[in-house]
Every structure is written in C-alpha cells, then in structure tokens.
Amino acid sequence: MSAAPFVHVASVTLTRARRFLALLQWMLPLALFSLATGYEIFEHQIEVGKPLNLNLSMEVFLFGILGPGAVAGVIFYIQRLLDALGRAQVQLEALNRQLEQKVLERTVALEQRNAELARANVELQQLDEMKSEFVALVSHELRAPLTTLNGALELALQMDDPLPQPARATLGIMATESKRLTDFVQTILDLSRLEAGKLSINPGPVAVQPLLEQAAGVILAQSPRQVEWSLCEDLPPVWADEVLLEQVLRNLIRNADKYSPPARPILLSACVAAGNRIRISVRDHGAGISPEMQERVFERFVRGHSAESAPTGWGLGLYLGRKLVEVQNGQIGVASPAWQNQQAPGSEFYVLLPVADMPEDV
C-alpha cells in the first residue's frame, strides 16, 4: 500500500500549523503584554500624571515584557522545529516518490519476466507433447515393419528347403538383432507410457517364490545356467503389480545371465526385511560394479559395463526397472562386491517391496 496519501495529509497539516504559529508568534506576546501591563496598572491604581514607582516598573518588566518575550521565544523555537520537520517531510516525499518509481519499475520487470516464464513454460509443454507424439509415432512406425521383419525371418528359418549353412547363420543373426530391436522399441514404449503417467498399475498380493521361479524359468529356459535358491520359509506375499514385478525380475535375471560367466550359478533369494518389506535379490558372479557406477547405474542410458567386450545393451533396462519398482511403492538397489572373491566379486541387485498385509486374526 502506498504511503503517499498519509504524507500529503501530514504535509498540509504542517503548513497550517506553521501559518498559525507565525500569527501566534506576534499576537500572543502582544496580548500577554497588554493584559499583564493593564492588570499591573489596574493593580497599582496609577493616577494620570503621577510618576511610575519602582515596584510597578519591575512587575511590568517581569510579567508584561519578559513573560511574553519567553512565549515568543518558545513559539520561535517551535517554528524552527516545524521548519526542520517540513524539510524532512519534503525529503520523505521525495524518497517516497523514488521508492514508488522503483516499485513500479520492478513490478513491470517482474511482470515481463513472468510473461517470459509463462511463454517458456508453454513452449516446454509443447516440446514435451511433441516428444511424446514423436516417440509414439516412431514406435508405431517401427512396430509394423518389425512385425513383418520378424515374421519373414521366422518363416525363412522354418523353410523345409535346406538353406546353405552360411545363409541360415546370417538369418539367425538377423533374427537375434531384430528381436533385440523389438525389445528396445517395447522398452521405449513402456518408458514413454510410464513417464506420461499412462501406465495403469494393478496392485494385489503376489506370492514371491512362484513368480521368481516363473521369471527364472522363462529367461533361463535356453541357458545352461545353474540357479541356486535361498528363500525364507513362510514368506508372505508382497503388495505389487504381478505383471510389472515379473517384468522387473526377468530383467534383473537376464542381466545377471548376460554379465556373468556361464559356468557360475546365479543366486536368487527372498526374505523378510526391515520395515515390513520383502527383499528379493538376484546375485551373480560377474565382474562387479564400481561404487561410482553403482550410484548411476539406474539412470537413463547409463551402462554398468562399457567395455567393447561387454554384452550389447541400451542402458535402459535398469532405468525402466527402477521406474517400475517406484510406481509400486518399492525400492531397487545394487550392492557390489557380492562375494569375497577378487576375481569375480559379482553384484547383487535387490528389490524391496511392502508385504501384502492382512489382519492376523482372519
């Protein structure tokens, strides 16, 4: 709120007071002089032509001259004070005007910046929508030809006519790469749906052992890999989305299979952990993950192993895994080394999910 009206009223009041005092400065001493002198003459009953006595002269001097003189002095002092107040008032008004001007300038600048921010926000939203549309378009455009490509390869590899071995091997490689590209498109689509908030979650109780065994069975069906199990007894179900949790577990088991020597087993375990949660973990005998990389390995496009000899990958699997676990109110993490073995320290990826609670007396 502006202080200008208040300052204006104060200024007018001050001017009036100064005018009144200017008048009073002469009128009041004069009136006091007349009153005091008249009173003294009346008191002493001076007759005309009779000389003034000393006593009367002293009283007239004291009450008729010094008294009004003192009043005039006080009024003069008050006037000086009012003058100083007036000058301060003028300065205050000037400062006030400057302040108002500054506030106005700042307000205009702020409004401009707000408008710029709003424009930038709209542009960002448009860009985000364009990105989503682009991802949807690209994935859609990729899905149709991938279906044809995969189908053609499937058909060619099933042909009864014996294909020359090099041609069959080439088709096999193409089929593998096409499958990889298909998985990538699927991951991108899942992420895009997840980030757009379009992925619907269907939570319920999930028995861990059957799900873990099913995920391992699917991923390691074609692999000679041994699996060791460490499951606590009477493990209660977790509260999760069964389909999404299996997707996460499959991904962790696939990674363990990819990044560890084929002769070494994978350890799958599940047990009750602190905070009424279940800890499900996949432990491998691979090369391990450095502490720096452990902090970044769940980020987008970050790969734990970047050496040329490392298995192929896009650095999206663990990022998707983290997102999928987080939407289920869970937590995902990694610990490495997982074993006391400097040659093959291994890694342990774990998922923590809440227990599907129910009253004990049911």
Binding site: G151, G204, P237, M358
Partner: protein
C-alpha cells in the same frame, strides 16, 4: 481345416502371414482394406478374421463394427497400441482377442488356435461365468461387479475362476494351491488365506457378511451367492 480371413493394409505382412498360416494348414483369404475385407467376409464366410486396427479409409474399429452387424465370426485384432483404453474399446466392440505389434507369428498362431477352440466349444456365452452381480469373461480376463470393473491380478483372477467353476463345493486350501499355483506349491497353503482375504477386499461390499466367498472353517472355501443381507 478352418478358413481364415486376414485384413491388413500392409501387403508385405499380409503375404507373409498368408504363407505362414497356409503352411499350418489353414485356408487363407486376404484383403488389404476394410471394405475389401467386408466383401471377402460376405463371399467366403471365414471361421476367423485377423483384423488390423490401423488402416486408411475404413479403419479396424469401423470394420469390426460392420463385421458385428453381419456376423458373430471370431475376430482377433492386430494393434500397434497397447493402451488399456484401446484394448477395452476393441473388446467392447466385440473383438475376441488382440495381439500387439510387434508379435511373433508363433504367438499369433497360438491365439488363433485358442480362439478357434473356444468358438468350436460353443457360443461366446460359454466363456463367461456369472453369479449374482459378478460377471467373469474368461477370454478377456475381465471381472465386473454390477457392471463396475474389478481390477484383479492374474493370480487373483485364476483363484476366483477356480472357486467359481466349482461353485457350491468346498475347496480345501491344498486343492486351491494346486489349481492356481501348481502341484509343486502344494505345501504353500498360507498363500490361499492371504489371497482370499485380499480378493474379498476387492469383491465384497460387507466383509463381515461375505456375499460370494465363504469360509467353511476347518474345511476350506466355498463360492456361493448369498442373498443380500
């Protein structure tokens, strides 16, 4: 062997699918658009239609509506979208199943077998379990209660179906575990109590007086529709 009609504007895919499915012994007709597909339906009377959603001019949804005006032939939709809304839209228009692109031909073949087997065993009503306000559509893995969709996990769905298919009988926890999780988990009877409790949370309106899933203490669980309290 059954006769299939494939409708897709992608001629390359159409040709490959036709070759793959004809090798499996199916009679194949193809159409590269919705209008041509409807003409082929009228002319050849196929046993099943594989219909692509994304087509120019008359798209898959419009074509499906027109097909349902003419016939009850089973339809499998091919879609490049996996949004739940799209899938539900397809089912609400009368699709029998859907396959998302990119799919493997073997996967599509399995779906064709399953849909044809269902259709051979009778009308689509056979794939539905109804009890009170509860309706379970087996092919769509969909459960509604008084028309409202009940979101169940795949295992909860299996458990409900196991109970409903033997409505009135008392099923022991061992029987339910064998049925739902498999014989290797026969000792894990603790699963049943927990899953039933959570299933009731989703199905029942009054948990103290359950309407559908009843607990016969010492014996097991029984599915029966109780009268409204």
């Amino acid at each position: 062997m059954a006769v299939l009609l494939l409708i897709d504007d992608d001629r390359g895919l159409l040709q490959l699918l036709a070759e793959f499915l004809s090798r499996q012994g199916y009679g194949i007709y193809t159409a590269d658009g919705g209008r041509q597909g409807l003409r082929a339906l009228y002319t050849h009377q196929p046993d099943l239609i594989v219909l692509d959603v994304s087509m120019p001019e008359k798209d898959g949804w419009e074509t499906l509506k027109a097909i349902r005006d003419l016939s009850n032939v089973p339809v499998i939709m091919l879609t490049a979208r996996t949004d739940e809304a799209d899938v539900l839209r397809g089912f609400s228009l009368g699709a029998d199943d859907y396959v998302s692109k990119p799919f493997s031909f073997a996967q599509l073949l399995a779906r064709i077998h399953a849909v044809l087997a269902r259709s051979a065993h009778g009308a689509p009503e056979d794939g539905k379990l109804v009890a009170g306000d509860l309706e379970v559509i087996l092919s769509q893995k969909r459960v509604t209660c008084a028309g409202a969709l009940i979101p169940l996990t795949p295992t909860e769905f299996k458990l409900l179906v196991a109970l409903m298919q033997r409505a009135g009988e008392v099923l022991t926890p061992e029987e339910l575990v064998r049925e739902v999780w498999g014989p290797q988990y026969a000792n894990e009877i603790g699963y049943v109590r927990r899953y039933i409790w959570h299933l009731r949370q989703k199905l029942e309106t009054d948990l103290d007086h359950p309407r559908y899933i009843h607990n016969d203490r010492g014996f097991g669980y029984r599915f029966a529709v109780a009268e409204n309290p």
